[in-house]
């Protein structure tokens, strides 16, 4: 479980102003909110990429906001992150990209690494592209390779930053279905940030609505739809 207590993040101006949430194991939490509301900042703070001004973050009861690098690194072995732009390493091919975290943190044989990479690519339905470089992949394929890299070391928590943004409707739907299926298969906790309500409706077990630096709403899809707010209705209008 991830516990966030009274989290504040500021740059030149305050972005997150006292976030409190418990992210339960095996749930699919989707964080919604306007552009610039701090959704990405929130998930990047949880994984330790952004230092909070104050507040506490616990990953499996280990406090990672006390500056202990060892604890943070240990917690990160349980974290997979799919970045908005996929963030694949240009100089490495698909196989090397996916194998990198395995080579760095696990004492596996060459054969074991090959098997795990193959399995991860099967899960994202991209068999046989191991030797291609990121520049040779489409946007949708890059997202799936990034997803394979996030799940290859069996991370317990998978963070997804705008997983369907910038994709055509067909590829977007494919990624949505893939994530839903994957979540069912690997029994992990998925935390996604998105603007795509179609995606949210399909996958979310819980929605968190971020507004003015705080969660205005945390609950299921049906209750979210009942909120009488202009910004919330804008999501449905885009979708239907």
């Amino acid at each position: 479980m991830i516990r966030v207590k009274d989290l504040y993040v500021s740059f030149e101006f305050p972005v997150l102003k006292g976030i409190n949430i418990n992210i339960e194991d095996n749930e699919f939490l989707v964080i919604l909110g306007k552009s610039g509301s701090g959704k990405t900042v929130f998930i990047k703070t949880i994984v330790g990429l952004i230092k909070p001004e104050r507040g506490e973050i616990y990953i499996d009861d280990v406090k990672i906001t006390n500056g202990n690098i060892k604890e943070t690194l240990k917690a990160r072995k349980n974290i997979g992150f799919v970045f908005q732009g996929s963030a694949l390493f240009d100089s490495l091919n698909v196989f090397e990209n996916i194998a990198l975290p395995l080579r760095e943190h696990f004492h596996l044989t060459k054969k074991e690494i090959e098997m795990r990479v193959k399995r991860a690519l099967e899960l994202v339905e991209l068999e046989g592209i191991e030797k291609l470089y990121p520049s040779e992949l489409s946007g949708g394929m890059k997202k799936r390779v990034a997803l394979a890299r996030a799940i290859v070391y069996e991370a317990k928590y998978i963070f997804l930053d705008e997983p369907t943004t910038g994709l055509d409707p067909e590829t977007s739907l494919k990624i949505t279905n893939l994530l839903k299926e994957l979540w069912g298969k690997i029994k992990g906790t998925f935390i996604a940030v998105t603007h795509d309500f179609g995606f949210t409706e399909e996958v979310a077990t819980r929605i968190a609505w971020l507004k003015d630096g705080k969660f205005e709403f945390i609950g299921d899809v049906e209750n979210f739809k009942k909120i009488d707010m202009k910004e919330v209705h804008a999501y449905f209008m885009k979708t239907f």
Binding site: G48, F83, P101, H105
Partner: protein, 249 residues
Amino acid sequence: MKIIYSLLYEMGGFVNSFIKMIFYLKEINKVKKEIIFQIYEIGLNSLPLVIFISAFLGMVASVQTAYQIRDFVPLIYLGAGVAKGVMIELGPVITGLVVAGRVSSGIAAEIGTMKVTEQIDALEVMGISPYRFLFLPRVFAGMLALPMLTIISDIIAILSGMWISNFTGITNYETFARGAKLFFLPKDLFGGLFKASIFGIILSFSGSFYGIETKGGAQGVGISATKAVVTSCLLILVFDYLIGILIYG
């Protein structure tokens, strides 16, 4: 006041990053393959440029020295002057400056692009330190590649200096070579190579540091590349002076 503060802040960041990288020296085994690749990138790919510049450097050094000494000093000293000048100063410094222009900016642009496309964030989330994964192989490769390039530069410059002095009738091959051998000291050669090693560290580290400090998008990458080259060149000249005093002073 603001400029001084930001300069001190940048210097602090520079030193702090260097210490962080040193901390990962014990894991150098993990990046052996990448070091070899970077030696190829920094060293072998800079070779044509270094050869071209060294050839002209040697010729200029020879002609200019001859012009200055021919009325006062026997021309046997021409070979000594050119060889010593090249080994102690011109070879390492010019190689360092030329490679800084080519490599430092390249490293800063590469790592800077990784920064703005979230690849550095991806490394950190995977628990992989960029100081170990990106800095260490480049800095180590720079440290090894620069002396190799400098040896080649020294040889090309001395040979081209010898050729031009014979070709233009200033002196002949034998006199030039005898002069070069007569006053040769191993300290001249090895001191120059030691300098080259330090320059290799400086230029590859500057590129890495400004790369990871990149902010914004394409414009930020350009600014980082420029900063990396300027800082490399300045530090090469400062360290040239300091090492010069230490070894030859």
